[in-house]
C-alpha cells in the first residue's frame, strides 16, 4: 500500500495527506507527541473512543465550550425572570390567587428550566459546531482502512496543506513514531461535493411542507363560493338544534317549541308594563315606577360602577374615560367605537323610560344588559345616571345654600 505511494509522489491527482495506522491507543498517544514535537499544525488523530491525555499530547487548547454554556445559562435565567415579571407583573398586572404581581418564588422554576434549556442547547450546538460538524467529506474517508477507525483502528492523518508537508520525510516521521502502516491519500474531486439529487429532494420537501399552510391561507382569505375550511372547531358544530331550525319530530316541523298557550314560565310574569318596559301605552314613561330613595340612589351608584363605568367612565363622559375604551384606543383596535357621553343634550332629554329601554336592550354597539341586571337595579341605574347628568350641568342654584361658601372659583 505504502510502496504504491512512493511510485507516484508528484503525479496528479494531488496528494491530500498521509494516513498512518497504529496498533494501540498507547502507541497513538506516543506518536501524537512525536508529531507535535516535529512542529506540525495541520494534522489530527482518529480513534474509536476518546483517549485521555491525547489532547495534551497533541497540544490542543482547552475548548471554550464551558464559557459558551455558562453564558447561555445566564441568558436563560435572566430572560425567564424578565419575561415573567414583565408579562405577569407589568404589562398585564393581574392578581391571581393572592400572589404578588412581581412574584419571585413562583418565577424560580421557569428561571431554572430556561437556564438549563439554553445552556443545553449551547452545549449541543457547540459540540457539533466546534467539532466541525456536519462534515460532508474528508480525505480520510477514502481510505478503505479508515472504516476501522470507528471500530478498533487508531490513526494519524497528516494533511498535505501543512507547511511542513513533504511526502518522504512525513512518511519517515510516521514510521519512526511506530506506525503499522502508512497510506497516501489522494484528493478526490468528487469528495466534499454534495450530490445534486440531495438538493432536489430538499427543495421538494420544502415545497410540500409549505403547501398545506399556503392552501389553508388561500382558502381562508378573500371571498369564496364554498364555505371556508373550518380548521378550529371550537365546538361550533354540535349535535343540537339551533334556533329556528327544522325537526321532523314535531308535527309543525319546528325544533323550537312555542310556549304552551295560556301559560307563563315561572318567574317570568312581567305584568307591570311601567316597571319592565319603561313604556306605558307605547309612550316612554317620564317617571320612575317606584319612589326614588337615597338607598336606591346608592344602589344605582354601585350598579353603575359595576356595569357601566368600563365603557362610559366613572362620571359618564364616554370617550376614553372607561378602562375598556382606553385600552382599546391604546391598542388601536380598528373596530372600536367610542362610547357616547351621557351628558349630551340628546341623552339628557331622553325620558327615563327610554334610558331604561337602552340599558335593557342595548343600542347600536352597546350590548343589552337586561339579562344581567334585574329591572329594579336598572331603574336604580337610571336614577343615578340622571344624578350624574345633573351634576355635570349644575348651576349655582343646585348647590345648597349652607355649603356654597366652600366653592372655589375655577379659572377658565
Amino acid at each position: 500500500m505504502d510502496a504504491h505511494a512512493h511510485e507516484h509522489p508528484n503525479s496528479s491527482p494531488p496528494v491530500a495527506g498521509l494516513l498512518a495506522q497504529f496498533a494501540s491507543p498507547e502507541a497513538l498517544r506516543a506518536a501524537a507527541a512525536a508529531v507535535r514535537a516535529a512542529g506540525w499544525t495541520r494534522w489530527d488523530v482518529h480513534s474509536p473512543f476518546p483517549i485521555h491525555g491525547i489532547d495534551r499530547a497533541m497540544g490542543l487548547r482547552p475548548s471554550p465550550l464551558p464559557w459558551l454554556v455558562l453564558g447561555a445559562a445566564v441568558v436563560g435565567v435572566v430572560l425567564a425572570l424578565a419575561m415573567q415579571l414583565w408579562m405577569n407583573g407589568i404589562d398585564y398586572p393581574l392578581i391571581i390567587s393572592g400572589k404578588p404581581l412581581l412574584s419571585l418564588p413562583t418565577s424560580v422554576p421557569i428561571m431554572f428550566e430556561l437556564g438549563v434549556l439554553l445552556a443545553a442547547i449551547a452545549a449541543f450546538v457547540g459540540a457539533i459546531a466546534l467539532g466541525g460538524l456536519p462534515l460532508y467529506g474528508h480525505p480520510v474517508f477514502f481510505s478503505s482502512r479508515f472504516s476501522r477507525a470507528s471500530t478498533d483502528g487508531f490513526f494519524i492523518f497528516l494533511a498535505a496543506d501543512d507547511q511542513r508537508f513533504e511526502p518522504i520525510s512525513a512518511q519517515a516521521l510516521l514510521r519512526s513514531a511506530g506506525a503499522v502502516s502508512v497510506e497516501t491519500l489522494q484528493v478526490d474531486e468528487a469528495s466534499g461535493r454534495v450530490p445534486g439529487g440531495l438538493y432536489w429532494i430538499l427543495a421538494t420537501a420544502v415545497v410540500l411542507a409549505l403547501l398545506p399552510p399556503v392552501l389553508v391561507t388561500w382558502y381562508r382569505t378573500g371571498p369564496k363560493s364554498n364555505p371556508r375550511i373550518h380548521l378550529i372547531q371550537d365546538m361550533d358544530f354540535q349535535e343540537k338544534y339551533r334556533p329556528q331550525s327544522a325537526s321532523p319530530l314535531f308535527a309543525d316541523g319546528r325544533a323550537t317549541r312555542p310556549t304552551v298557550p295560556e301559560t307563563i314560565p315561572q318567574g317570568r310574569l312581567q305584568a307591570d308594563e311601567h316597571l319592565y318596559t319603561g313604556k306605558v301605552a307605547e309612550q316612554w314613561v317620564t317617571t320612575f315606577p317606584m319612589q326614588p330613595t337615597a338607598a336606591m340612589m346608592e344602589r344605582g351608584r354601585e350598579r353603575y360602577g359595576i356595569f357601566c363605568t368600563t365603557c362610559h367612565g366613572l362620571v359618564g363622559e364616554g370617550g376614553v374615560s372607561g378602562i375598556t375604551s382606553a385600552r382599546a384606543v391604546k391598542r388601536r383596535e380598528p373596530n372600536w367605537v367610542l362610547p357616547l357621553s351621557l351628558h349630551t343634550q340628546s341623552v339628557r332629554e331622553q325620558p327615563v323610560g327610554q334610558l331604561f329601554h337602552t340599558i335593557t336592550h342595548g343600542v347600536r354597539t352597546m350590548p343589552a344588559l337586561g339579562a344581567q341586571i334585574p329591572a329594579e337595579d336598572r331603574w336604580a341605574i337610571v336614577l343615578y345616571v340622571r344624578a350624574l347628568q345633573r351634576s355635570q350641568n349644575a348651576t349655582l342654584d343646585d348647590v345648597p345654600e349652607p355649603i356654597r361658601s366652600q366653592l372655589r372659583p375655577v379659572s377658565p
Binding site: H52, P105, T106, V108
Partner: protein, 405 residues
C-alpha cells in the same frame, strides 16, 4: 496492591495533641460555665440559655450525623475514592457519644415540665391547647427523653461498630471485614435516616408544636451533610499539613470533596426551597406560622442572608474545577459553609425565643466555644493512637490512584 508498609506510623496524630485535647476540654467546660453564669443573671428560668444550647447541640450532633451518613453511604456504594478520608468520618461519627452526655440539660429542662424550651412540655399549656393535647401521646416529656436517648444510643452503637471493624482491619488487612461493613450498612442507613428524621421532629420541629412539615427531616439531613463535608475538608487540609494525611490525599480528593460540598449545597437549597415554596404558595395559616416571623424584619434579613450565603454564593463559588482543587479556596468555602450551617440552625431555633429579632447575647459565643471545646477535645482524645487512615482497607490503593478527568 498493598504497599502500605512505612505509612503506618505517619498516619497517627503527633503525641503533643493529648495536651491539646485536655486543654480543649478545659476551655470547653469553662466556656459552658461562663455561659451558664451569664445566663443565671438573666433570671428567665434558663429559657434563653436552653435555646442557645439547643442550637449548638443540634449543630454538633449534625456534624456527627453527617459523618455517620457519609460512612454508611461509602460502604453502600462500595466507594473506592474516599477510603483515605473515611477514618476521619468514622471517628467523627463515633464522637456522637459526647452528645449523649451533653443531652442531659435538655432532658432535665423537658422533664422539669416548665415548658421553658418546648411549650408542650408544660402540662398547663397542653391542657389549654386542644391541638397540643391531641399530640400528647407523642409529645410528652418522658417519651421525648426516651426517644432522644434512643436515637443517640443507636447512632453511637452504629458508629462504634463501624469504627471497630475498620480499626480491626488496620491490623489484619482482612477484606472480609469490608464485606461485613458493606452488609451492615444498608440497614444501618435506613435506621439512621429514620431516627434522624424523628430527632429533627422532636428537637427542632416541636419547638412550634402546632406546626408540621413532612420534609423537615430531609432538611436537617441536608444541613448535616453540608456541615460535615465542610468540616471534613477543614480537617483533611489541616491533617495533610500536620502529617497524618500527607501522601494520603491528593488534589483529586479535594476535588471530590468539593463536588460533594457543592452537591450538598444544591441539595440543601432544593429542600429548603421546596419547603418554602409549597408553604408560601398554599398559604394555609397553620403552616405559614413557622415562616411568619422569618419573613420580615431582622429575621427576614437573616433568611435572605441564608439564601445568599448557604446557597447562591457557594453554588457559584464552587462551580468551577479549580476552586475545588485549590486547597485554599476550598478551605475558605468549607469554613464559610460551616458558619452558614450554624446560622441555619440558629435561624431554625431562635425565632421560638424571640419572633421579632435575633436575640444575640454574649452567652451564645460562650456556649458555642464551650460545646465546641468539649466536642473537639473528645474527638482529639478519640483520635489518639489510632491511624487516621484505614490502612488495611483493600481499596486504599484505588483511592490513591484515582484521577478525575
Amino acid at each position: 496492591m498493598s504497599n502500605t508498609t512505612g505509612a503506618e506510623k505517619q498516619t497517627l496524630l503527633p503525641a503533643t495533641t493529648a495536651g491539646a485535647a485536655a486543654a480543649l476540654l478545659v476551655v470547653g467546660l469553662a466556656g459552658m460555665a461562663c455561659a451558664a453564669a451569664l445566663e443565671y443573671g438573666r433570671g428567665d428560668q434558663w429559657r434563653y440559655f436552653l435555646h442557645s444550647y439547643l442550637v449548638n447541640f443540634c449543630f454538633f450532633t449534625s456534624l456527627s450525623l453527617g459523618a455517620l451518613f457519609f460512612v454508611l453511604l461509602q460502604h453502600v456504594a462500595r466507594a473506592g475514592w474516599s477510603v483515605t478520608v473515611r477514618r476521619l468520618a468514622e471517628l467523627l461519627a463515633a464522637n456522637v457519644v459526647v452528645m449523649l452526655v451533653l443531652f442531659v440539660p435538655l432532658a432535665a429542662s423537658v422533664l422539669a415540665g416548665q415548658g421553658t424550651l418546648y411549650p408542650w412540655a408544660a402540662p398547663h399549656t397542653a391542657a389549654a391547647d386542644h391541638a397540643i393535647e391531641q399530640k400528647q401521646a407523642y409529645l410528652n416529656p418522658t417519651f421525648f427523653v426516651v426517644r432522644s436517648v434512643g436515637y443517640l444510643v443507636v447512632w453511637w452503637l452504629t458508629a462504634r461498630y463501624l469504627l471497630r471493624l475498620s480499626l480491626r482491619q488496620d491490623e489484619s488487612h482482612d477484606a472480609a471485614l469490608t464485606l461485613s461493613m458493606e452488609r451492615f450498612s444498608p440497614l444501618a442507613l435506613i435506621l439512621l435516616v429514620v431516627t434522624l428524621t424523628f430527632a429533627s421532629f422532636d428537637w427542632l420541629m416541636s419547638l412550634w408544636p402546632h406546626w408540621w412539615s413532612t420534609i423537615f427531616g430531609v432538611y436537617y439531613l441536608a444541613g448535616a451533610a453540608v456541615g460535615f463535608v465542610a468540616l471534613l475538608i477543614i480537617f483533611t487540609v489541616l491533617l495533610e499539613r500536620a502529617g497524618p494525611l500527607t501522601d494520603q490525599v491528593t488534589a483529586e480528593h479535594y476535588h471530590d470533596l468539593g463536588k460533594l460540598l457543592l452537591a450538598g449545597v444544591a441539595f440543601w437549597g432544593y429542600v429548603a426551597f421546596s419547603q418554602y415554596l409549597l408553604i408560601w404558595y398554599a398559604n394555609i395559616p397553620e403552616e405559614t406560622a413557622w415562616y411568619q416571623p422569618r419573613h420580615g424584619g431582622p429575621w427576614g434579613w437573616m433568611s435572605l442572608g441564608l439564601l445568599a450565603g448557604h446557597l447562591a454564593l457557594p453554588l457559584v463559588g464552587l462551580l468551577s474545577r479549580w476552586p475545588k482543587r485549590n486547597r485554599l479556596s476550598l478551605t475558605f468555602w468549607a469554613v464559610w459553609l460551616l458558619v452558614m450551617h450554624w446560622i441555619d440552625l440558629y435561624w431554625s431555633v431562635m425565632p421560638a425565643y424571640d419572633p421579632h429579632q435575633p436575640p444575640w447575647a454574649l452567652s451564645d459565643a460562650f456556649c458555642l466555644v464551650g460545646m465546641g471545646g468539649v466536642y473537639l477535645g473528645a474527638l482529639i482524645w478519640r483520635c489518639r493512637g489510632r491511624s487516621l487512615v484505614p490502612l488495611g482497607d483493600p481499596r486504599r490503593q484505588e483511592a490513591l490512584d484515582f484521577e478525575n478527568y
